[in-house]
Symmetry: C2
Subunit: 339 residues, 2 copies
């Protein structure tokens, strides 16, 4: 291989993102500058928040510019090094983007350039021990403050973040109810991830189902979806409930502004809180989180699921899977095997 | 006077509340039971939240039942006593309702039966030192957590609660911007209440005006209004902003559900919090608040304004004034002079 395949952001999306928003190009493999390494991307991470990075608006990260490779977290292998701390063959996590090769120095980019312990498989590192797992950990524990015996409701519950958030709540002694789409995801949640109850939003009235499955009301709502699901949940919050706003995937591909819930005043009546967060702010505490998560995985209390697509040509279509609900668990794409 | 005039809730409102929702009756003056006193109401308090008490739905207080006198805070005078701690002539604060006389025992009702210090005028006790002032105090300080140098935006800023919240923020060293309707209210806010800037929502584009008057963005938004005002404010929140949900008067008389803000995801991007509260939960800390508020009044740092209507027959119309924005400051109605 002597070219760097790339998918560039070529057109900002209006509505559902698709292949038409990207341009495939082949460019020379870049040379690492002094202090940099050249990384070959092996696995790409797909996250709903990436849809927001494509919009030309102020947000928690600058927008991806037109003509730039699409931004994405990745795991790769060092193939050339101008930095004494990194050797050829090292497995690293970085923000590699939609391309075969990236040059990067430690501390650069969102994720920096972090070596992965050899015993951790890349798919675990990019999912339950990566951004999505940490998002679940800090969002649930830091904002949700779940207490044993409380009821925790999770939307997007079969997703990479929701499934981990719900299981952590269960580990902390809470009753956990998940909202997901379709019987396959729902079965996985109750049978494998050991949620106490599950709501299939595609086949049930969510409002009625929350009332039925949460007889003591909802103390913590961990929301990845927004829209009508958020509104339904707000109808059933308990006194001093915490609504953790993790995401709002239901509106990410909307062409018109999506109205918020009609019942925000329930936050007043129930003295409840709704709070947003970005996992980037917690990266200085990642080590403790990873230790906890890994411990729960090893004890069998926490399971995770990855959906690994393959083929560089399938990258844009793989992003779309997040928004059509096709993915079961963390969405990844494998570009190449480690050497 | 040997009858007890009353306005009973006769029909639950759909849309704007009006006289048609109440029935005027005259009944015998009740006799206080053992441990009770008979109070003659002198001043009635009007609060936007009373509109919610008229709805037949679960809330922070049970709904007023059809055929009952409308619930309202009041200040009155003891005219007959069967309780050793209360003497005829004592001025008391209670939940007297829309009637001349009420029998009540200490600890009963929302407000109990609290003697008013002789040096405090009733209109001060029912406004800046009453529920609205305490709402401002605890909502701003406990939920808003304003820090010197921060920007605090207040909606319903010329109202009984908003005007006090804004002034406390100014006393705490914040830059304070108020949103109110019409030039008279706006002039009062800047000239009398010493707000740093003001936005006339009836004559300005609120979104643009917030951007102009809050160049460092909004750290605390104290919201009494909801709807489009809340949405506009959410466009301009700062990192780790606190949105204090005090009320949502814009929707209280709506006949259809009013959609929430389209931009709740700004809470995520800005790691911000939106939280509701009910002042009743803070009543055990009222003494400290009243001490602080009274101190600021006496030092001239805090002013307040009351709008005192008169005439028992005008009670229903006076409630409506809150929702048409006619009141300037705390809305009261005087039924009688103390004897």
């Amino acid at each position: 291989m002597n070219t760097n395949r790339q998918w560039l952001l070529s057109k900002r999306p209006h509505g559902m993102v698709g292949e038409e928003n990207f341009e495939y190009v082949e460019t020379p493999i870049p040379e690492p500058a002094e202090g940099e390494v050249l990384v070959r991307n092996l696995f790409l991470s797909f996250d709903p928040t990436q849809r927001g990075w494509m919009e030309d608006r102020e947000s928690y990260l600058p927008p991806v510019q037109l003509g730039e490779p699409m931004r994405a977290g990745s795991i790769g292998q060092v193939t050339q090094t101008n930095h004494p701390d990194y050797q050829v063959g090292d497995m690293v996590q970085t923000t590699g983007g939609w391309q075969d090769f990236v040059t990067v120095a430690p501390g650069q980019g969102i994720m920096g350039l972090n070596k992965i312990p050899p015993q951790i498989p890349p798919d675990m590192m990019l999912s339950v021990l990566g951004v999505t797992g940490l998002t679940a950990y800090f969002g649930l524990l830091d904002l949700g403050e779940p207490k044993a015996g409380e009821t925790v409701l999770v939307s997007g519950a079969a997703g990479a973040t929701g499934s981990v958030a719900g299981q952590i709540a269960r580990i902390k002694g809470c009753r956990v109810v998940g909202i997901a789409g379709g019987p396959e995801k729902c079965a996985w949640l109750t049978e494998q991830a050991k949620f106490d109850a599950v709501i299939d939003y595609k086949n049930e009235n969510v409002d009625e189902a929350i009332a039925r499955t949460c007889p003591d009301k909802v103390d913590v709502f961990f929301d990845n979806v927004g829209g009508g699901i958020l509104e339904a949940a707000l109808n059933h919050i308990n006194m001093r409930a915490r609504v953790v706003l993790c995401g709002g995937i239901s509106a990410y591909n909307a062409t018109e502004p999506v109205p918020g819930p009609v019942n925000l005043m329930n936050l007043v009546i129930m003295r409840a809180r709704m709070e947003g967060f970005i996992v980037i702010d917690y990266m200085h505490k990642a080590e403790q989180a990873i230790t906890d998560l890994l411990g729960w995985i090893q004890s069998g209390e926490l399971i995770y699921q990855v959906d690994v697509q393959e083929g560089f040509e399938n990258i844009p279509a793989t992003l779309q899977r997040l928004f059509t609900g096709q993915n079961l668990g963390k969405q990844l794409l494998k570009i190449a095997d480690p050497s």
